[in-house]
Amino acid sequence: MTSERIEALKKRRQEEMKAIKTTDQSPYGWILLILILGTVSALFINQSHYMWVFPLGILLGFTLERSRFCFTASIRNPLTIGTTKLLQAVILALMVSTVFFFILQVLTLDIGNFQISEVPGALRPIGWNTVIGGSLFGVGMVIAGGCASGTLVRVGEGFTLQIVVLTAFIAGALLAGVFHYSFWHDSFIEGREAVYLPNVIGFIPALLLQLTVLGLLYAGARKFANRKKT
């Protein structure tokens, strides 16, 4: 019942998208592209770091928009309308990234003699802050209709509502990251080190374990969708 209503909403949105395809906006696109390239060369050419960050961000945003890739929908769709295509894509992306990150880490690190802080990547400790933060984030992204990256993409697409989400996101981040942070840090984070899987079970086992788990999740997602279909 509800899933039918969601489907109807989706259809309506797709038709809305089609209806506005009447005027050719691509010239503005090309002008924007020239402006972007101009900005990169004018402002960032000497700061080699930004010179790469800016175009990589543009490509990330372009890819997310062009493919309608959405982390929120990847979690919400299996529960509401029973499709897992996006979920499978997210898992696939994690598998591909796992391999790339692994290669980079192995090439960078002096295996057997390195500190956690030297490992390239996002390595952070685990605590109640991870559990509570992850849960709050999960509830929030479904209710707001978009995650952190999804909100940025929607703003670019012209959604006024996502400007509200972005503002609230910033307010929430300030509340926790500035005003409440000492509480979270002192209670759960201070003194803990990240758990780096290769340190626990070895490099090759960590790679194999992670790919196996992700592979099983992928197969499970596919099976779930097929079961829903029949």
Binding site: L32, L86, A122, G134, S149, G158
Partner: protein
Amino acid sequence: MNKLYDKLLKAPWPYWAAAILLSLLNVFLLMVTGAPWRVTSGFLYWGMWVLEKFGYNDFSGSYFEIYGGFTGGETFLLNTVSILNLAVILGALLSVLISSEFKWRRIKNLKQVAFAIFGGLLMGYGASIAFGCNIGAFFSGIPSFSLHGWVFGVFMVLGGVIGSKILMRYMV
């Protein structure tokens, strides 16, 4: 040639292609900046910039003071993550313009606004205490082989289940 152009720039890309591209871009970011893709700290710094403009600058004990720290020339407004966030918005804009799909989409009702504010606040708060959002903690954390990425992912999904229930009950 025209067909290829339409296919590449106008038709939606398949999810699997996006999955591979996003992974590649993330590993490039890691190689170039020394840190993978992240979003939330950029939002936090924008907020701190606003606070500073209003005369508040006691940031002792904040995330920024403990884990932040800028390299030469970075500010709350302009730093690696902020530039990345701005670029993601512009990249999406570029994509909708090239495919002629841009349109200002107005807010339909107050209920939507209430959900947007509530959801946004929860996301901001949660991401700030958990070292990242669906990108920093999940999409970059898991491939980094850091266990916190998995823990975050599991609870993000659980939160998503609860959120979906709330959504189905009150929104649709």
